[in-house]
Symmetry: C2
Subunit: 314 residues, 2 copies
């Protein structure tokens, strides 16, 4: 792609609302694929960073969205997504007819359905498209997207999806399915992190060789993606947040709210949520989610490897 391509009038304009570690990478991936990308963030410095990197900035969500074919919302939850759409200077009344709103926040499927309905009532398309993969994959355009929405929503979103994702699951023609799949994944991920921390700290309490525990478990039936990914943080004593305790306070909270409303019991997710709440209450909310291991250690006197880095909040 010639460096001039962006200035020579590309056909597709994309707006990205939310230029955090995920949104910035997604904006850059779309720019790299030749889309004309306008970014907005509530923090002006985040917009400046995108502009310094060659992107276009906007002063409000509405200004970013007004000429866009594709608006990608990369905020934290359903409430923020609603504000991006319908709040003061929100995008919904600024978007042109037939444009698509891609919602990537993790939220209750009922909220996704409601937002989709209100967005579609304005003649816009809505793609319910939670993401998974972390900041590095966002920057490389290699996210996994769990998406549902109308055929027109998918078709209009396609150039953006192709630029941002290595894999797009098409999970149905109605908003809410993507959100529901994401919540099933978050239920499992949140429980598995808690189980990994419960187990590795129990091994420490018994004086086992933790490196050997990692070697044996990752080759055994007790393994999980999260055990394999998070336990190395515990072994290194490094709780620098890659994904924080607060993410699972939020996501398992959504799981619990959904389950309560559907009269479905989730004893495993409920037990895990209590541990994330306890870790947050103990001051570790912004630390890596593997900090649950430090919580188990505090509760039991187990000794975990200590970091060679500066101490975290505990």
């Amino acid at each position: 792609m010639s460096p001039l391509a962006e200035n020579s009038g590309p056909d597709i304009i994309a707006a990205v609302i939310g230029l955090g570690s995920m949104g910035l990478g997604m904006a850059q991936s779309m720019k790299r694929a030749g889309l004309d990308v306008v970014g907005y963030d509530i923090t002006p410095a985040a917009v400046d960073r995108f502009v310094a990197d060659g992107g276009r900035g906007a002063a409000t969500p509405a200004a970013a969205a007004k000429d866009a074919d594709i608006v990608v919302s990369v905020v934290v939850n359903g409430a923020q997504t609603e504000a991006v759409l319908f709040g003061p200077q929100g995008v919904a009344n600024a978007m042109k007819p037939g444009a698509v709103f891609i919602s990537s926040a993790t939220m209750d499927p009922a909220v996704a359905r409601d937002l989709a309905q209100r967005t579609e009532a304005l003649g816009l398309h809505y793609l319910d498209a939670p993401i998974s993969g972390g900041a590095a994959k966002a920057a490389r355009g290699e996210l996994t997207i769990m998406a549902s929405g109308s055929r027109q929503a998918f078709d209009t979103a396609r150039p953006g999806l192709d630029a941002m994702a290595a894999k797009v699951y098409e999970l149905g023609d109605e908003a809410g399915k993507g959100a529901a799949f994401k919540m099933i994944n978050q239920l499992l991920a949140g429980v598995h992190i808690a189980a990994a921390c419960e187990a590795i700290t129990f091994a420490a309490k018994q004086g086992l060789d933790l490196d050997k525990v990692y070697e044996v478990i990752t080759a055994s039936a007790g393994n999980s993606w999260m055990f394999e990914n998070r336990v190395p943080h515990v072994l290194a004593g490094d709780y620098t947040p890659l994904s924080s305790i607060e993410i699972f306070v939020k996501d398992l909270g959504i799981v619990q709210d959904m389950a309560r409303s559907e009269r479905y019991p989730v004893p495993l997710a409920a037990a895990a949520l209590q541990m994330y709440l306890a870790a947050s209450g103990a001051g570790m909310g912004r630390d890596d989610d593997s900090s649950l291991a430090r919580l188990y250690a505090k509760l039991s006197g187990a000794e975990l490897p200590s970091s060679t880095k500066e101490p975290q909040s505990l």
Copy 2:
């Protein structure tokens, strides 16, 4: 190996106590490797099956063990292992000096340490060697063994270990370490099965396409070895026991007892244990452990795929 080798006086004699689906396969694997194998089981028909297959049978544990270099105990728990060693016609007083007792049952590490001490006091060696891998791997001599014990115990056991296992982890020179590693694995495995059943049935409750859920989750961060292995039973509606609910009633019970005694909290394992107990109480104790999904379905009205086979206990 010539078929005559067994009759021409092989150097090493092994006794296997407990010829269930695991013990029979382990006995056959050692026989295939050229050891002279004598089998005993509390059920005479199990001994007959081994004899019909070309093995040697014995009428008591003591009779099986009296000339053996290696005695492999393949029973259910610590109490049965103690009975094999020290009960009426137990092997401990029949074994020759310098022979090794290989204990493969899953048990509390404290029990393993006690049995080892009492066995070693008689001039015998003790290898704490829990197994993992299932009946098919037992039959192929491809188990994973998590072993600890003295150097002499390992050396004497080696021909048997090599015949039975694809991988032997050497986890320390004292009995109890092998048991402790196995319990860490069982904590994780038991929690992950419960989480898998909680999640897949929650997906069913929401009307998601369960085959698609399996596809998405096994490619995502919510995956676990157990989700990947057990959820297909739920998708097929087939709860024929490969590993039963009662196994985790037992193993998470041991985890809970260990944790209580060490003043270590295990909220995830405790929540999972309650679900196994509920499934057992509801009549599914001898069904496959993926029957937890049927329990969640009963509790919530979710509809899971039904089997094309005969109905199980529910």
